[in-house]
Each structure stands twice: as C-alpha cells, then as structure tokens.
C-alpha cells in the first residue's frame, strides 16, 4: 500500500500531471488560455508518430515472436468484451437508455492513446522496459468495441426503430482513422528501419517528447475542464461511480490477460492501462455517425472528464504498483 501511495505521489508531482492540472484549473477559473486547434492537432500527430516509431524500432531490436500475435488477439478480445461489462454496469448503476449505455460502453472497450503515451512515459521514467509491440496492441483495440456496442443496440431493436446496424463505409472510416493510420504506419516504418532509423531521428522524437506531452496535456486539461464545467448537471453519482469503477474493472481484466501472455512488468502495466482507458477520439466520431441518438455530452464527459483524469493521476500508479507486485518486477 505504501508503495502505491509513494508512486501515486511521485506521479502527481510529475510535469505531465501538473500541466494537465494547470489546464483543468484554468478551465474551471474561466481563463482565456487556449491552445490553437492546429497546434493541438500538430502535437497529437507528433505524439502518435513518436510513440509508433519507437515501438516499431523496439520490435526490430527484440524480434517478433508468437507473443506479439497472441497479444494482438488478446487486445481484440478485450476490446470486444469490455463493452458488455460496461453496458451491464451502466444499466445497474445509472438510468441511461440502451442507446446511451451502449454508446458509453463502446468508449470503454476502445482505448485512449494519450493515456497509453502517459503510461509509457511513466514506465520510461521508472527505468522499466516494455514490449514495443504494445503500440500495435493499442491500435488493434481501437475498433472492435464499436461493433460490440452496435450489436447491443441492434439486439434491443435499434435506436427508435432505425435498426442500429453498421452503415456501409463506417468500418472503413474507423479502420482508416487518421490516428490509427499514423500510429500503425509509424510503427511499421520503425520496425523496418530499426535502431538505425531511430538513431537518425532520435533528436526529434526522443528528447522533445516529454515537453510536447506536457503541452498536449495542458490542452487536454483545458478541454476536459471546459467539458466538465459545461456538462456538470449530467454527472449524477451513478455515472461518476461508473467512470472510476469501469477503468479498475478493465485494468483487472488487462492484468489477467497480461499474466496469461507472460508479458514483462511494463507490458502488463500497459495492457492494464489500455483496458482501463476510454476513447475520446475515434469512438465519439463513430458514435456520431452510427448512433446519433446517443447524447455525446454523456460519453465525452465520462471518458474525458472523469476516466481520463482518474487514469492519469491515480490509475497509472495503481496499475504500475499492481503489475510490479504481481510480476515481481
């Protein structure tokens, strides 16, 4: 317990968390501080490019084995499975309609790449290595949850008699989402060019990484804070409990998967983090197309306003401490 508290305290006073807190505080205080849209988009591209490339280079250095394929498979299964657990929890804890509950559930089966980046940054700071292909696992976990959510709605008769099936072209849009293309593409280029390729661009993607992440999290804090301020009336106790309970439930399943796969301490922690995080980029866009009847304020507030800050401040240290305790790392 002391170990978890020490890790949590250390995490809370790290620059990335403090910049996130600054963004939250500025939003709550109604400051006019803002990060221009194009800058935020540029930083997001940089982070995806850097994390993908470094993951690919790591795979090139350590080689490909069966664990990579099984990890990808485990990620896909988790992403399919988690929405059903989330849906059941939401129906018990909240009075959300089937459509709203399914839309929220889709977000919790998918992943938050920024949470993943923050977790890998904590691992690096702690001197722990992790399997580079976890980046590919993250990409693989983006989309399956959307299919589970649409199935949940279709099973209930569809939203207002609209059937609830997947519109032609939507799956293609999800799989070719810019974030996924850049992440997977950078991963592939990193794997092809290996350590030699990494050495050539190291000064661009390694040293500035933490600084860019800080600035990006400042923006995330602003966005999360403004979202919370504008939708505070939506946050009933049941939703708040779900926003904290679901990541812990997902992390527990991620822990089991990581242990079965025999991942390193860092790998187990990242599998827990991926399972615990909730999407706020790919899935919201897919839900607006597939389930427009669902209230976006509910799923965006939960994913970005509750679960993301929870994972960033308390979740990541908890997942790291548990992974270390279980793996002995």
């Amino acid at each position: 317990m002391d170990g978890i508290l020490a890790l949590a305290l250390e995490n809370l006073i790290s620059p990335i968390i403090l910049f996130f807190a600054l963004g939250l505080a500025a939003a709550f205080a109604r400051s006019d501080l803002s990060v221009p849209e194009a800058v935020a988009k540029g930083m997001s591209l940089y982070l995806l490019f850097a994390i993908g490339f470094k993951g690919g280079a790591s795979v090139a250095a350590h080689g490909v084995d069966a664990t990579l394929l099984f990890s990808l498979l485990a990620g896909v299964i988790l992403s399919f499975l988690l929405p059903f657990i989330a849906f059941a929890l939401l129906r018990v804890l909240t009075g959300l309609s089937v459509v709203d509950a399914a839309a929220v559930a889709a977000h919790y089966g998918s992943i938050s790449i920024v949470t993943f980046v923050a977790a890998s940054s904590v691992l690096t700071s702690a001197g722990l290595v992790f399997e580079g292909y976890m980046v590919a696992v993250a990409a693989a976990m983006e989309a399956p949850a959307i299919l589970s959510a649409l199935w949940l709605v279709a099973r209930a008769g569809g939203p207002n008699g609209h059937g609830g099936g997947m519109e032609p072209g939507l799956l293609r849009e999800i799989l070719l989402n810019g974030s996924i293309v850049l992440l997977v593409g950078s991963f592939a280029i990193g794997a092809i060019t290996g350590q030699e390729g990494l050495a050539r661009i190291e000064s661009f993607i390694v040293s500035p990484f933490q600084g860019v992440l800080c600035l990006f999290l400042l923006d995330m804090g602003l966005v999360a804070g403004r979202g919370l301020r504008e939708t505070r009336g939506l946050l009933r106790p049941g939703l708040f409990v779900f926003g904290v309970l679901m990541p812990l439930t997902g992390a527990a399943l991620g822990l089991v998967a990581g242990m079965i796969l025999g991942l390193s301490t860092g790998g187990v922690m990242l599998m827990m983090t991926l399972s615990a995080s909730a999407s706020y980029i790919a899935v919201p866009a897919a839900m607006r197309v597939a389930l427009p009847e669902a209230n976006p304020a509910i799923y965006l507030t939960l994913a970005l306003g509750i679960t993301f800050p929870f994972n960033l401040t308390l979740g990541i240290p908890i997942y790291l401490a548990v992974a270390q305790a279980v793996t002995g790392g």
Binding site: A40, D219, V223, I281, A282, P284, A285, M287, R288, P296
Partner: protein
Amino acid sequence: MQTHKAKRVEITIEAVMERRLSEALEGAGVKGFTILPVLGGSGRSGRWSREGQISRASGMIAVVCIVHPNRLDPLLDAAFAVVDRHIGVVSVTDCDVVRADRF
C-alpha cells in the same frame, strides 16, 4: 442589373457527416456548394466550441448551396436522408443571383 430568383439552403450539421452530405448533394444534382467551419454554439447537447477540440466528433460545419427553385425539393430530400437522425439545422431562404445559368 437583372437578377434571378433562387433558393439559398444552409445546412448546419456535424462535421463527421460532411462527406456523406456532400455525396448526397452531388447525387441530387447540386452543381456547387460551400462548406464553412462553425466556431461554436449551443444546442440540446449543451454548449460547444471548435477551439481546443481533440476530435471532430462534436464539431459542426455549415454547408451552403444556392439552387434554382425547381431543384429545391430533390436537394431537400437528399439532404434529409443524411441529416434526419443528426444534430443540425436546415434552413431555406429566398435570394437573388446574377448568373442564373450557374445554379
């Protein structure tokens, strides 16, 4: 200068629906339209702003098209097939154009 009667249709819709709406308009024979970014606003889902958004999920766009009155119904049918279930506003106003052959 002589002007000609036309209809100006403005559709404010979620940014994620941009491609679908554009394709529907082209399918309905609309010769041209303009897509504008929307800075922010407020609606049944609360306030939102383009500034600082991390995805297009909650962003909006405005599509403006000017058509000959005879083309209005096919345009509205095509547009409604896309926007019916979504957040948005469709408005039609009378306007005058100088070069009628372009609409």
